[in-house]
């Protein structure tokens, strides 16, 4: 069952596909808005301000695939839950890392990537 993305999700993914990671903030308070919180999706009175992210954060959890479903056979084997410096959390592939260096707390940054495909992260330069 595929869900048609709403305006909130499209705003986020359209920016990613354009090569930018943008995150929502409340224009009234300047505080970050959770990606789960859609009250400022622009259909009401107020819209979130989508600011460019620094593209850095830390790993808060990670998994390594040893088996894959047929639909995802080509995906990278390591995925991480990353808390960005702005406070938002994202699931993303972690690349350019040996599995034995995987650790919660590892500092990461957005990796160079093609326009299409997953938004991947890699260990920050000073951690490599």
């Amino acid at each position: 069952m595929t869900i048609e993305p709403g305006r909130w999700s499209r705003t986020f993914t359209d920016a990613v596909e354009a090569g930018e990671l943008r995150l929502p903030f409340d224009p009234a308070t300047g505080r970050p808005v959770s990606l789960h919180d859609r009250r400022l999706d622009g259909l009401g009175d107020t819209s979130a301000e989508w600011r460019p992210a620094r593209g850095t954060g830390v790993v808060v959890s990670h998994v390594r695939f040893h088996r894959r479903y047929a639909t995802t056979a080509g995906e990278p084997p390591i995925l991480a839950l990353i808390e960005l410096d702005e406070g938002h959390r994202l699931v993303a592939p972690l690349i350019e890392i040996e599995p034995d260096r995987l650790a919660v707390g590892l500092a990461v940054e957005v990796a160079d990537r093609p326009p299409q495909g997953p938004l991947a992260f890699r260990p920050r330069h000073d951690q490599r």
């Binding site: 069952m1 595929t2 869900i3 048609e4 993305p5 709403g6 909130w8 999700s9 986020f12 993914t13 970050p32 808005v33 959770s34 990606l35 789960h36 919180d37 808060v60 959890s61 990670h62 998994v63 390594r64 695939f65 040893h66 088996r67 894959r68 479903y69 639909t71 995802t72 995906e75 990278p76 995925l79 839950l81 406070g87 938002h88 959390r89 994202l90 699931v91 993303a92 592939p93 650790a103 919660v104 707390g105 997953p118 938004l119």
Partner: protein, 388 residues
């Protein structure tokens, strides 16, 4: 503690179960309902309510509300489907109890059915879904986080990092459940299992091995709920003394991997009875993965935070342990029919039908359900006693 029960479960019906196709979900649901009504000593004409729970992974018409017609249940005052994913079975008990106490219905039958296992005998592909952790539609699928096991493994790894939980702790859950399953002739995986066997089993999505994952079957479970009456005591009756839900929601600054709505539900559940988790005498908990069982011990107050793993290694929940948990083998070794499995085992124990695995400390039996990726929680306290 001086409380009267809120309602009573008086019949359990279980369809044939298999790792092969044996019928549609709708057909298996009908069989389970028929058996539950008969087990309650009732006729179809005595039933005035029907609640249905389906797998979130199937289209609703696989078990439509027309199940009423299949069963020729006429003139119902309550008919609905509950959409709480793995918490649905306990949510059905919650809604049914409220309906009965509100005199909207007298005898309500609740049913869950699912047929995730295809002709190839594999159930895993049915769960090859992307669970939404981020809040952006389609994000996890785009990023490659496919499969319930992957999402739950992410939560497990977080607990391991924060609290020092180890793969041996996860394995201890699987080993304890298998030891119970060994005593259950209806369990699907009964061969003895050691921690070394567990550690040698193949990794699926690290930190999960194949033995950390539920064993799905095709089948259905139904039960009949009625008003609590002291005259039912001593017969096949599991009295519902408390029932509660807890759905924390997700936002910034949360740790939904281990700080879940279960602890909210636990507070509501125990407050009604004036008890704490340490007073629970046995538990049947939702454990689609080993970590979910381990976390349940902490979230429902049966262990302190971060201490469940060590308690499992010490045999807390295994046969002979101080707290019998998942005495049919649970979802990992018994059978996985989402939240219906814990409820079926709780009723089997309280009805005194568990034979070689029968326990006697069912006075305060905790039964739990979990939906989403640790997002939705519902639970009940059941007892063979009408008054506590």
């Amino acid at each position: 503690m001086r409380t009267n029960a809120l309602s009573a479960v008086v019949g359990l019906g279980v369809s044939p179960m298999s790792r092969r196709p044996i019928g549609t979900s709708r057909e298996l649901a009908r069989i389970a309902v028929e058996r539950a009504i008969a087990d309650a000593g009732l006729a179809a004409s005595d039933i005035d309510g029907l609640l249905i729970a389906r797998s979130p992974l199937v289209e609703p018409d696989q078990i439509p509300l027309h199940l009423q017609n299949d069963l020729q249940l006429r003139d119902l005052g309550l008919l609905s489907a509950i959409d709480g994913e793995g918490s649905s079975t306990l949510q059905m008990l919650h809604w049914t109890t409220m309906a009965i106490r509100g005199r909207l219905a007298r005898n309500v039958v609740c049913v869950f059915a699912d047929t995730p296992v295809g002709a190839a005998g594999k159930g895993g592909d049915a769960y090859a879904v992307a669970m939404g952790l981020t809040g952006i539609d389609g994000w996890e699928a785009r990023q490659g986080l496919i499969g319930a096991a992957a999402a739950y493994a992410m939560a497990a790894r977080r607990h391991m990092a924060v609290f020092g939980t180890t793969e041996r702790h996860l394995g201890a859950w699987a080993v304890a459940c298998r030891a119970w399953a060994n005593r259950n002739p209806d369990a699907f995986l009964r061969d003895p299992l050691t921690i070394d066997d567990y550690l040698r089993s193949p990794l699926v999505v690290e930190p999960f091995r194949v033995l950390d994952c539920a064993y799905p079957v095709n089948g259905a479970v139904a039960f009949v709920v009625t008003a609590a009456r002291a005259s039912l005591e001593g017969s096949n009756a599991a009295f519902v003394h408390a029932v509660a839900q807890g759905h924390r929601g997700r936002g910034l600054g949360d740790d939904p991997e281990f700080d879940t709505g279960a602890s909210l539900a636990a507070a509501r559940l125990y407050a009604r009875l004036g008890i704490e988790g340490r007073h629970v005498t046995s538990a049947q908990v939702y454990d689609a993965f080993s970590y979910v069982g381990l976390l349940a011990l902490e979230e429902w107050g049966l262990c302190r935070r971060g201490e469940a793993g060590a308690a499992l290694v010490d045999g807390l929940t295994a046969p002979g342990g101080a707290l019998p948990v998942n005495t049919g083998g649970g979802h990992l070794s018994g059978w996985y029919l989402q939240g219906a499995t814990p409820m079926a085992e709780a009723l089997t124990q309280i009805f005194g039908r568990a034979e070689g695995r029968q326990i006697f400390r069912t006075d305060l039996t905790l039964v739990t359900g979990v939906g989403g990726c640790l997002d939705l929680h519902a639970a009940a306290i059941l007892s063979p006693h009408a008054r506590l």
